[in-house]
Symmetry: C2
Subunit: 355 residues, 2 copies
Amino acid sequence: MSEVTAIDPADWVCPLPLRETKRIVMGHGGGGILSEELIENLFLPAFGAGGPSRDSAVLTVPAGRIAVSTDSYVVQPLFFPGGNIGDLAVNGTINDLAMSGAQPLGLTAGFILEEGLELELLGRIAQSMGKAADHAGVGIVTGDTKVVGRGSADQLFVNTAGVGVIPDGVDIGPERVRPGDDVIVSGNVGEHGVAIMSVRTGIDFGTVVTTDSAPLHGLVAAMLAADEGGHHIHALRDPTRGGLVASVVEIARAAGVGISLQESVIPVPDAVASACSFLGLDPLQVANEGKLVAFVDPAATEAVLAAMHAHPEGARAVVIGRVVPEHPGMAVGRTPFGTTRVIERELGEQLPRIC
Amino acid sequence: MSEVTAIDPADWVCPLPLRETKRIVMGHGGGGILSEELIENLFLPAFGAGGPSRDSAVLTVPAGRIAVSTDSYVVQPLFFPGGNIGDLAVNGTINDLAMSGAQPLGLTAGFILEEGLELELLGRIAQSMGKAADHAGVGIVTGDTKVVGRGSADQLFVNTAGVGVIPDGVDIGPERVRPGDDVIVSGNVGEHGVAIMSVRTGIDFGTVVTTDSAPLHGLVAAMLAADEGGHHIHALRDPTRGGLVASVVEIARAAGVGISLQESVIPVPDAVASACSFLGLDPLQVANEGKLVAFVDPAATEAVLAAMHAHPEGARAVVIGRVVPEHPGMAVGRTPFGTTRVIERELGEQLPRIC
């Protein structure tokens, strides 16, 4: 079961044999002494001073609206260029909250660990989570750990749920999208998916593509500030699984509008384009983890774009299309060759376990 | 991959081959059309009218304190006497919130599904979640679904996170526990763990023991009302993994007090006692999923106990011990034979994957 290795005196904790392990054992999920040790020696130091409480955490909120979100992460491999499952999980849930205009208040972390997982690996992932949360200015406030036997999970799954505060007056949702709105993307698309695929396939695409994983609540706050409460930012989406295409089709369907994209202006880095061409993928359907798509009344587009350009996560923001009254529920792209095509989502997925 | 069976006309949805499947395929987790179908045809109907929104849900809160909690569920088997992983996940997170005195406001549901899982099984579990949430008066407000390949998970894991509102003036926490406090348990202990073990071992213990899985926020509200803002309810714990013992030792350690239990008055049903005796388990260390332990100033014990007895989840509530200044950080039990023993938590766990 557990791999018992020779003890380095520096690692010595306790004479009980199980504590000598460098790996997760079933007992780490049992709610007993080993569980407590895992929390106190691994998770709490990694998550920092505002680390998680035992069963539930208490947060103080102003009267008004909160956003609540959850995402489970099953990405393989656990580590990839530019990040790992831990910071991905933190940024991903922050971004789900940010897409309703919320500023994140606290995150939860729920782990499902496979027996035999190296503690050192778990420690590095937990530290990444702590750093990402710290960078975003949000605490990991409570958590949970379960362990399943070898072969009953694939190393490590993590769920992050989050709570955020929606500032008074912010009103963002697909039902507000209307014909005439500009469609803005905050930067290059396709990087996260290609970063994962490059490790998974072992193919050298010449340039290393790193994940774009990043928290977007700061960018959203800057955009809302630039709009000065004008309610011109109608909807926001983070194009993760299914990529840009899934986000725009989802909005077209939810708002009952058509969307027309100018494909030639959508920023796809050369390395992403060539990797996608090699792998037979459409970069517009590849997952992003640090980008947003905004649907904005053209009266505010200039101000919102300027604010995006002034923010590191929006420096390459660009208008890629427009909401139209034609073909409701559908997105249509003008290709670089001047033709048009219907942009349709995948039935399933191009890339499994991308997040 | 997917098992394509003959189509019953009543099940007919769409001519695309994948939709004929009765099982989860990788694409159900891809964020595309199959994901949407799973949400719209399975999760939304199961979770009811207040079903989950796409990325995040918006809830309205009064100014003040909210409790936030998360729990992942990996119980095997998925179905057991009296419940399944779905209602367990709903009640469990409600109870984590209730232990800080919070009334639940909304739950999230994050699924990790193994490719090949029967849709009918998932549907039954989702329906149980919807029913349990409805029974508790709380909505499942947002969710997430990931799919991993065959052999990368064990059927289905579910994470529930929750948000609850802590009423003004409620002040519950282990740091408030002090010598003299009565220790109250709300009813029979050991039922959940034995219910699981009876199915897992296939041993017939004569009587079927069913899980005690139940939401406890109503009981907690009744107890708080009986205390009339007197702040006599110092701490609450739900004795899940590690059982009653883990809860009392945890409080003893957190509060720096001793706890003395009268073992003969702890309500252990005969069927639980005999199953535990057969399996070599200590019923005080077996998981419960619908019980609480309260640490109460004796000035309020009578009123709080009366309120518990008037509530279905607290009908068998009883004082089982007292907080003492001696042996801080430790719990000691007076056995039925008149001797005393130190009550210590398990290092790991008696029963893996009990919740």
